[in-house]
Amino acid sequence: MVSLPGVANDVASAPRGRRGTRAAPSVPRSPARERRSRKSAGARGTAMPNAVPVGAMAKRSTAMPTSNPAPAGTDADPAADWPARLTAYRCRQSSVASILDSVLGPFAQCNPELWERRTYLMLVGLVYGALCEDELPTAELTTLAKVLSELRPARLRGPTRDPATSSAGEPPAGQGKLPDRFADIVRQVYGTNFHPPAETTPAGDQNA
């Protein structure tokens, strides 16, 4: 048992269990670690998901961002810090969703059929799962989401060209000013020649 400064003796001396363990400094718990913890707890014959070695908790506390939720207590206990935990959780979820939308959203927008396809679903699920793991701090995810959001307008405008590689003042073929003749426009856009509909002209009648 680790005695903590500022913690009352009755709490520190409480039976080692949910509340006793969770009286330690707020430590976020990742789903993956939660499962590992459960497995190890099951192997030891205990049913306490919070039974984590103190050393592991200390190591985890140095690796975790401070903005992560600190699941003090269990979900069965309506702890007073529930709003803070919920806010931190939703902040992370929102960042993950923003990243997903920035990276994979355009695919869905251009082809709704992808929503039903396994590939798209797998991508969304895998990226979501990877980002929700606490290997990445919430602060970094939030920054990435902001950067992607800021890049979106530029990306929608199209790729930027390096002015050094393009000829001075001349737009590349297929971009910029349209040709003067309608037939040339059709050839540029569709890659085929434009054949105007046959009109009955006096000259045509004469040729016929």
Binding site: R29, P71, L100, A108, V124, G125
Partner: protein
Amino acid sequence: MSNGRDARQIKRVRNEMLVALKLIYPAALQAEQLLRSLLVLFPTLDFEQLRRDLHYLGEKGYVERVIADTDDNGLTPWRKRWFRLTTRGIELADRCIQDPALE
């Protein structure tokens, strides 16, 4: 059958399920991924509870299963099944409609 969960706890879990699915709408999530995400908030949540809640939300018309082209409809395990919000589900998550059972 509620496994000791009180009404408030049940509502919280179901609400957070809707929130998580709303964030990635119109995409879908696997039940396992949803569980792993929710474990951050509800460390004692187990998969059977989540499955019951998914079933409940599905029967209420808020969540639907997405069957991928390559999924075998009857044999896919629950953990590997994909779910997403329905139009009613997104309306509820956006608070356009109200459901007293999920308030």
